[in-house]
Amino acid sequence: MSKSNLTRRGLLKTSAIAGAGVALPTIFTSSANAFTNEPTGSTVTLGFNVPQTGPYADEGADELRAYELAVEHLNGGGDGGMMNTFSSKALKGNGILGKKVEYVTGDTQTKSDAARASAKSMIEKDGAIMITGGSSSGVAVAVQALCQEAGVIFMAGLTHSNDTTGKDKRANGFRHFFNSYMSGAALAPVLANAYGTDRKAYHLTADYNWGYTTEEAIRASTEAMGWETVAAVKTPLTQTDFSSYIAPVLQSGADTLVLNHYGGNMVNSLTNAVQFGLRDKQVNGKDFQIVVPLYSRLMARGAGENVKGIFGSTNWHWSLTDEGSKTFVKSFGEKYGFPPSQAAHTCYVQTLLYADAVERAGSFQPCAVVEALEGFEFDGLGNGPTLYRAEDHQCFKDVLVVKGKENPTSEFDLLEIVEVTPVDQVTYAPDHPQFAGGALGSCNNGA
């Protein structure tokens, strides 16, 4: 016969201890694991995913310079840069929510798979709470989707394709840079003014996502003002010599060539077009013209003299005279010895915008940050009054139409601003056909 020692008081005691033991993990860990990579110490880690090798390595290097400057300013170093001109005053120069900002870097190589791998590594191994950077729409779309799955915020770098905030938009992703539609909307009136409304355009288009959306946007906006598109030819992304594509342009009866190319493609196609003397020709009784929808100073440098007088659009330019731009150019110029590129500008601004959103939300939790950024209106960051639209996480601001400068004073002074196109002219409805097909979905906190 066995004798039990169990008493009523003992049972209650044991049950209470067991209950507390079962509940303990959720009581103390629910906060710690509320979202991916919640910073628990005195620092917070940001992940800068930029092309450090490959064809856009120089642009990536400029992005990294801007990120380092932004981190310095966030931690209270340097002159504070655009934190002084930013309309929101949430940032104090003491890191983010009092935590010192640290960063890790990854190399996108301008390849989607490499960019995803480096972002994944920064999230999983280094504990990055936010990923930002990139110089290509393919990379931006791929990394944005990864960040959505992982439950971290993605602040896009240089990405111009409509799809980034169109059919491939994600709730955890935000884009400050402008897009193909905005380029078309800003360029068309300037082109009509300079070259007239009776033009025959021939498009050469890089055979990938960004090329397609840019061609679509420029065609739509120029055709709307009366231009005719006589031909649109896709060129392989790997093409280096465009002579066989450019030579037939004159035979087509076109009097304007639109180069929907970026990077090395743009440098080579523009150089080839100028070599073939297109700009010296007269067709249909008009001077032949060339248009480059998306300009970058780093690429204008590669094309050298060939950019003179050629129209294009850009997100930002160091010669802007607003207080934000002047402050940023001074900070960057004094630290590095030359003016920042548009890629550097957008990356710097994105970092500040993220940090500011965290401060205003009072939390690093991605969904709280998303809420703080959605519909956020700000000024003082170099593009005039700007809205982060809630419906698609795209920034709406003025767009610059630029032209290759005739008499540059230095290798950085290659473009001149022709017009600052007001934001109203480049704003579109969230369900515009060029952006149709995707949904933001819900934000993801991960963990």
Partner: protein, 343 residues
Amino acid sequence: MDAIILQVLNGLDKGSAYALIALGLTLIFGTLGVVNFAHGALFMIGAFCAVTLNRILSLSHEVVDETRTDFLGNPLKVDVPYVYDWFGEAAGQTIIDWSVPLSLLFAIPVMILIGVAMERGLIKHFYKRPHADQILVTFGLAIVLQEIIKYYYGANPIPTPAPQAFTGSFDFGAMVGMEANQIIYPYWRLVYFAFAAIVIGAVFAFLQFTTFGMVVRAGMADRETVGLLGINIDRRFTIMFGIAAAVAGLAGVMYTPINSPNYHMGMDFLVLSFVVVVVGGMGSLPGAVLAGFLLGILESFASMKEVIDLIPGINQIIIYLVAIIILLTRPRGLMGRKGVMED
């Protein structure tokens, strides 16, 4: 008709580059039996010889222009090249303007030196190794060379224009009595084609009419017998490697005004040049030249809008498609010899 003439002309300059690179590849393969995947990198280094000389000639000192300001609002520092000080502004400008043709003189010794160093320092250790080993080591070498160039010159293309006298284009159609403005051809591409023809002719003459060339040809046919005759064929083959490197380098120098050079340009040409060598026939010098021009012209035709509309994507695969057809019908390529790479 206009379109056909235009694409033939376009194919000529592209074909010139293919032919020059393939010629060097074939020389190396024929003499040393090495499949050299670093040959595209030699083309790229040649182009950067032009960039380097341009930078040397443009070396400047700063002069402060008080009347203008820089981006920070400080007085503008203007770079004045030393050649302006030494030869006067007009003569200095002309010297810098002609930096690409002058680079030919600079590139020849540099490229021969690099070629000989490559052969003696690395490639000679792989003569008796399988072709797969040779491909791996030369491909690795190509990546190292392009990363070195990228480290010093950056990843962006660097504009290196032709002399003013050769910029712009001429109306070929009007010259031959056809409609004006239909067949336009840039002067420099004509220069490039003529230059390629001269270099190819010189290499053939060198191999055909000199004792050195005769020994090299004999060595290509039967290396062992030439060695048994007491001739140091290895030394001659090393020199041939240097000459092949110089041919690729010169092709690169003259190509810089056509497309701004970047660190990756060698790789862009390498694969196509190998296809050219295979189509021409492994080890056949005339075959390499013939295939270079043939594939250059075919590539141009495949880029015509009418052709792309008919067969979408043909511009991306034409060279490989033709290579498959030729290798199916003539397995040794257009002018390949029996026994080469068949053991």
